[in-house]
Structure formats: C-alpha cells, structure tokens
C-alpha cells in the first residue's frame, strides 16, 4: 500500500468510482480531467452527502457544517479522478489551485468556510504537498442546484521517458 493510500485508509476514506469506462478521461461533452505537461486539470465536481448530490442554498436549507462536509466530498471525488489520471496518488507533487463555488443564500458571506472542508482534507491527506492556492465565492446557482462545486489543478510527477 502506498503512503497516500495508507493515509486515506486511516481517515476511513474510500475513493468512489467516478467514471464510466473511459477513453482518455472522456465522458459526455467534456472530460473529468485533462493532462497537460506535468499538470492535471480537473473538471468541477459536485458536493454530495451519502453518495447523492446535496442540493440547496447554503445558509438557508443547508447549514454551514453540512456544506463543509459536502465540500470535503468534492475533494474526495477530485482525488478519485486524480488517481485515475496518474495511477498512484503518490505521484502527486502538489495540489496547486482550487476554485470553490458555493450555492449560497443571498446573505451568506462565508464561502471560504465551506471551502475549508475541501482544503483541510487535502492537507490531511497530502501534508505540505496538499497546501494549495484557493479562491472561493458564492455563485447564483450550480448544476442541479447542488450546494457546492470545486475544480482543481494538480502538479504530478513527469511521465518517465522511455
């Protein structure tokens, strides 16, 4: 078991199946990820609770703590995609950037606290390599009315030259 897999196990995290059979990450009109050089660009993933999309406005139907856990579920899915992209999460050199979009009620001004649910998880898993740049905001709506979405850029080990 690789160090990161061991860490995930110690956190009781099981990476979900995030994709149908895949050709170069293709699904629908876009892909869960694209590799470009030593960077993986990951598509936005949607917040879940008990494996189902968690929909509603944060600060209204959805309280902060639930939204924060949904943001954590987004980070877990992003890692699942990243694992498909590089095979072994120990090949991740750095989580580079996160954009966290929160579906907030009109007066909810704490998207950064929701985003912490994803950020703290990434640091738990990767340690220093998990410390990333981040922006967070509240948007007007998200796909399916979900409460939080985030996308990510990660730097990974170069593909070995043959």
């Amino acid at each position: 078991m690789s160090p990161i897999d061991t860490r995930l196990k110690s956190l009781d995290v099981v990476l979900p199946d995030v994709m149908p059979p895949v050709v170069d990450g293709y699904v629908s009109a876009f892909a869960p990820f694209v590799r470009s050089g030593d960077h993986i660009y990951l598509s936005g993933r949607l917040g879940k609770e008990d494996g189902k999309l968690l929909c509603g406005k944060v600060g209204d139907e959805i309280i902060l703590d639930r939204a924060k856990l949904a943001a954590r579920s987004v980070a877990i899915e992003l890692l699942a995609v990243l694992k498909v992209a590089v095979g072994d999460l120990d090949r991740v050199r750095r989580i580079v950037k996160l954009l966290v979009m929160v579906n907030g009620a009109p007066h909810f001004t704490e998207p950064h606290k929701v985003a912490d649910g994803a950020s703290e998880f990434l640091v738990q898993v990767f340690g220093e390599r998990g410390i990333h740049a981040r922006s967070s905001c509240c948007v007007a709506q998200l796909p399916f009315g979900v409460c939080v979405e985030a996308d990510m850029i990660a730097e990974v080990a170069p593909i070995a030259q043959k």
Copy 2:
C-alpha cells in the same frame, strides 16, 4: 487548407474578426490572450446571437436552446482568438480547460447544459484534442448583462527553436 480549417468550413463556421489592430494581443486594459510557455490563456468572451451580444437571464428571457447557441458562439470566438495566437489552429494540441459562467434566472440549475453548446462544438472541431476539463456555474451578472461568458486554456505546439 489545413485540416481544422476544412472542418470549420464543413460546419459552415466563419471565424469572426475578434480584435482591433493588435500589439501582442493587447486591447483595452487586458488582452484577448496571453501565451505562457506552451499554453494560451484566453480571456472570457461573451455570448452572441447574429453577431450581437445576447443579453438576459437564461431560464427567463432566454431559453436554454438560445443560450446554448450563444455558448457555441463563445467557443467560435475563442477559436478565432486562438488562431490569432498561434497562426494555424492545427498547432493546437489540446483544449485544456473551460470555465463557463451563465447569467441564469434564480431557479435555473442547468448551467452545464448551456456549457455543452461550447463543449460539443470544440469536440466537433478538434475531435479528441477538443475534449477538455470544464466547470460551469450560474453567476449573478455578466458584463453588459450578457447571457453567457467563457474563458479557456489551450495547449499548443512549442515555438520552433531557431
């Protein structure tokens, strides 16, 4: 005629003039694109219909199908900028990432379907190289009240060494 130009012609797509006389892509206080290494970063472009900005809230004044076509027009403009950036669209190695921002009515929860208008077009034109990572959301407003905006990152062939 290059393969991509031929494909565009077969789709009856004419790339618009997107820029005034240009110094290093400069226009206004920012540029339509910046090249950094082998990546082109493209500024957000705004959705149009019949060559004019299509303004209004998607899910209210603007129905989904119209917004999707406006998103397609954004992708066409992005390609026009990309052509200025690299001279020949066959030098595009990969459409890497799209961020699609939809000016949705409060209860419109299908920004991803609007975004498909851009995504599907890119795959039509570039095939596998057009499959990209993507995030989409509904924002509160966009420049001029336009219905959709998107920006893009593309990977292109290295500049030949002399």
Copy 3:
C-alpha cells in the same frame, strides 16, 4: 532599487504586509500562493479601502469608482504576495491571467469596469509584461461580504540551477 520597485515608488504604492510568518506560503487551510514550475498561482485576495475590507454590493452601497479602487487594492496585495513568492518583482516575466469576481447588485452589469481597476494598475507597474488575459463576472456573494475578489497566475523567471 529595482526598476519595478522604482515604478511602485513613483506611483506612491507601498506593498502591504500580506502574511504572517510563513512556511512555504502556508496560512490557514490554504496558501497565499503556490509555485509550480515557472508559474505562481495566487489565491483570491479581497478588496480594501484604507486597509480595511470594503464590504457591500457594487451598484448599490458601493459606487463603481470606489469598487474600482478596491480592485486596485486587490492588485496591490497580489503584487505583495508575488514579491514574497519570487523575492524581486523584476523576476516577473508576465502577468498571465486574472479572474475578477464582483459582488454586484442584481442589476449591476459592469464587472469589467471594476476589474479595470486591477488591470490598469498592473499595466502601469509592469508595462507590456503586465498585459494579461482576464475574465470578470458578478457573483452572488464573496467572503465577508467584500465587494470584489481576484486571483492571478503569473509567469516568473526560472529558479537558477545550482
């Protein structure tokens, strides 16, 4: 004094202290910046007036000119972070990309004019190297209810090989 420091002085701009004592840029659950290759990814910074967060809806409590100055303050903070990242702002090769998120009133459709406050400042400081790609939009809310947030990608000189 380096050329960029001289330029900042001529503009009467003093870069603020943006960070507590830093380990690899770490603060809270995320970092003000991450270096990846020759790029610095900067976290979103929040608009200020007289050194304090400027909160409220642009086009309502906050008029455009004030928001534009707040966007300029964001650009100043981004430069302060960038200076921590690379030591000397003359090592900045290019401001690559800006994402400007404006906390606008429902009918405010000029996020691009707010964003110009940041963009124009960057060009004043860096000249051609400051011309960047950009997207701007109005979001539903921002951290602490601040009126504007922006993040940035910059290309910097390679780290000298030893």
